[in-house]
């Protein structure tokens, strides 16, 4: 298939359509506005339904309802919008309804700014909802990878009957790169919903009794058993969904840990350090939950320092420290508020950190 030059947000929307998304609920927020715009004219052409919700809260709950009825539902937002959706996500985890959520993140807290940020790391990996729940989170480094992850996320959400979050950022949403789009999948039919999603609320014509999608369990032992059942799924997700890429780890004195846009800056910082005679490598977590601990076992014996590199005050660094488990000192290079450091700044700061541990 040939490549097309597409703006990230439009490619993300098209990826969802091609994955067989049949309902999308949008509410505008920069820097993801091209997604609801694109969905408004393209999703109906593909046989799906587009609804502009009146708020993020409405959007997530509309998606909850549509997915409970067997829809292949998709929502997108940006950081403060995701904060507003957290309640819905908790309900959707508890009721075991599949949903794909795309966060084209920006700086925070509060309304914050509109430039790229990664300070939603804790929001997406720990959740802002109450109770015990998890959401698989994938962080692409470019438009092509994001398209592929969105395409696959619908199947992961169906398999685990749980929301799946794709964590992109404003830069990825706004930039253009050549992209190869996947094949369009057919929309799920009413008959397929009844056979593939027997739990879905499709009316009582097709089965005895009624299906209930409900998160209230007043009996503590019943609720505990339900949460334990959810955590059996999450244990399976931890075994099956951890993903990462590594580069230049052999001989690396410095190992950067970075995801998304920051991993691309680190790749360039590695080149700059190499030119100064310092070997550096990169661990790029693709899944943020489950966090790919196994990547850290690939670090060689030349390494003197592991550096979590983030567009936040340091949120992933806690997962990095847990994965490192005392084997190497862990440093932090970060900017926040929508400021993206240059690769030169990253390389300089890495050099200083290396001198401190030597």
């Amino acid at each position: 298939m040939s490549k097309v030059l597409m703006k990230g947000n439009e490619a993300f929307a098209e990826a969802a359509i091609r994955a067989g998304c049949n309902c999308y609920f949008g509410y505008p927020i920069t820097p993801q506005n091209e997604i609801p715009e694109y969905m408004s004219h393209e999703l109906p052409k593909a046989g799906g339904s587009f609804v502009q919700a009146e708020s993020e809260l409405a959007a997530v709950n509309m998606a909850y309802g549509a997915a409970a009825a067997g829809g292949r539902a998709f929502i997108s937002t940006s950081s403060p919008g995701l904060a507003l959706m957290q309640e819905g996500l908790g309900f959707i985890c508890s009721t075991e309804v599949p949903l794909v959520v795309l966060n084209v993140s920006r700086g925070g807290p509060g309304v914050g700014g509109i430039q790229p940020g990664q300070a939603d790391y804790l929001q997406v990996t720990r959740g802002g909802y109450n109770g015990d729940a998890k959401t698989p989170v994938f962080a692409p480094a470019g438009i092509q990878e994001c398209v592929e992850l969105i395409y696959e996320a619908f199947d992961i959400a169906d398999k685990y009957r749980n929301p799946v979050i794709i964590f992109a950022d404003g830069m990825m949403g706004q930039m253009m790169e050549p992209v190869e789009l996947p094949e369009k999948k057919p929309l799920i039919s009413a008959e397929q919903i009844r056979t593939q999603k027997p739990w879905a609320i499709t009316g009582t014509d097709h089965h005895d009794g009624r299906n209930v999608v409900y998160s209230l369990r007043l009996q503590p032992d019943v609720l505990e058993a339900h949460v334990e059942h959810m955590f059996e799924k999450y244990a399976k997700a931890e075994r099956e969904l951890a993903r990462y890429k590594t580069s230049n780890l052999d001989d690396a004195e410095i190992v950067f840990v970075a995801f998304g846009t920051m991993s691309r800056l680190c790749a360039e910082a590695v080149e700059l350090l190499e030119a100064q005679g310092i070997k550096a490598g990169v661990i790029r977590p693709i899944s943020l939950w489950p966090f790919p601990d196994a990547a850290f076992d690939e670090i060689g014996d030349k390494t003197k320092l592991v550096i979590s590199t983030e567009l936040s005050m340091g949120q992933m660094v806690f997962d990095v420290k847990a994965a490192v488990n005392g084997r190497w000192p862990v440093g932090l290079i970060n900017r926040t508020g929508g400021v993206v450091p240059s690769s030169v700044e990253i390389a300089e700061r890495a050099k200083k950190l290396l001198e401190e541990v030597k």
């Binding site: 920069t30 820097p31 930039m175 253009m176 790169e177 691309r264 690769s343």
Partner: protein, 175 residues
Amino acid sequence: MKVKMFFAGSGGQGILAIGQMIAKAAMLEGKEVTWLPSYGPEMRGGTANCTVIVSDKPIPCPLINETDVLVAMNLPSLLKFEPLLVPNGTLFINSSIVSEKAKRGDISVIDVPANEMARELGNEKAANMVMLGAIVRKTGIVGMDTIREETRHMFSGRKEQFLPMNLAALDVYKV
């Protein structure tokens, strides 16, 4: 081969569009490309810029610390971004609007009276296309035929009436 280009001007000058056309043309010629715009509360007359990288190899990072080519469509762009140029870099100035000269002596400067040339063609809005023609001819970053093809693609359908003028605009700046 890796060429970094930075296009800057004011909103409405079509600076993002010509950056996109070069990126698209380079992709069609088999190159790796990235196009990264500034984004924010946009308005006509506000500032706009974009970064284009064209390379033989996958591009690790779409952000730049320096640029090989700078296109300054207005004075604030020249003042702000001239320091971004690498030594021996190429600076294109829209000399119809910018009367000041470049400060640096270690770069090559190409004055393109883009607005005047476009006005003579009949539509000042095509100033960006005049500039595009000059950039492509001077740098050889992509083939003129590929740019013409992309221009035909861009001005198709309802916009086809603007095609002849825009194609002509690509050819007015002679090297």
